[in-house]
């Protein structure tokens, strides 16, 4: 039982769950201990303890643009891209291979063009934090004459 409580606390420390979820899990663990039934409660608590947010496997990007944005007559244009999260993680590792001298030059070029991006800060742990916060993001882009383009980015 101590191991499961420790797991919950470690997940809370890592930011994988928030305080409310941690409290619910700990309560469930305590409730399972009080019930005392080895078979059912052990299954229930272990199921509850591991019932954390499932790690997203894919990043989806959906774009929907109407005629005014694309210039293509006849209807809307949709683009749907699904990228495995593993690919993003591998891409972040690729960024880590860039030599430090190149980092500095690239950072300078980015900031010159108004992009506040620091390559050295792109690390796998930062990506996990971004994924955790990227629950569902919808960006509406205003097109010409009030027509809108939708860009939706989410993890699943």
């Amino acid at each position: 039982m101590g191991d499961e409580r420790r797991q919950v606390l470690e997940m809370l420390a890592a930011g994988k769950i928030n305080a409310d979820e941690a409290e619910r899990l700990l309560t469930a663990l305590d409730g399972g201990a009080r019930n005392g039934s080895a078979g059912q409660s052990a299954g229930a608590t272990s199921g509850t303890a591991t019932a954390t947010k499932a790690k997203p496997k894919y990043l989806r990007v959906q774009v929907e643009a109407d005629e005014s944005m694309t210039g293509l007559k006849g209807g809307t244009t949709t683009v749907n891209v699904r990228v495995p999260m593993q690919l993003l993680r591998a891409g972040v590792r690729l960024a880590g291979l860039i030599p430090q001298q190149a980092h500095d030059q690239l950072d300078a070029a980015f900031s010159k063009h108004g992009v506040p991006l620091t390559l050295s800060q792109i690390k796998p742990e930062n990506l996990e934090e971004l994924i955790d916060h990227l629950e569902d993001l919808t960006v509406d882009v205003d097109g010409k004459d009030g027509n809108a383009t939708k860009v939706k980015v989410f993890c699943e």
Partner: protein
């Protein structure tokens, strides 16, 4: 596991407005087999280049392999009024 195939479907409208299209399955495993000798030949060249630019060649190869292995289940769908293209990497 590296992707062993990709499914590509293309549809378009002909002059009278009917949808026409085709579907092909691309055997990526054959592409990897064809590229394998080239990779083996370039292996020492890339390693030497990494020494000059102060890159870790092992990490580079590992990352490239990781990217290749991550391509499975990638989906790209583009749907315009004139053409539809669907790509699925298996």
């Amino acid at each position: 596991m590296i992707p062993w195939g990709a499914s590509v479907r293309v549809q378009w409208r002909d002059r009278v407005g009917r949808r026409r299209g085709f579907w092909i399955w691309v055997p990526l495993f054959l592409v990897w087999l064809i590229l394998l000798p080239l990779v083996l030949v370039l292996f020492p060249v890339v390693a030497l280049a990494c020494v000059f630019v102060r890159l870790n060649a092992v990490r580079l190869y590992g990352t490239a392999w990781g990217i290749l292995n991550s391509l499975r289940k990638t989906v790209v769908d583009v749907d315009t009024p004139e053409v539809r293209v669907w790509v699925r990497v298996a």
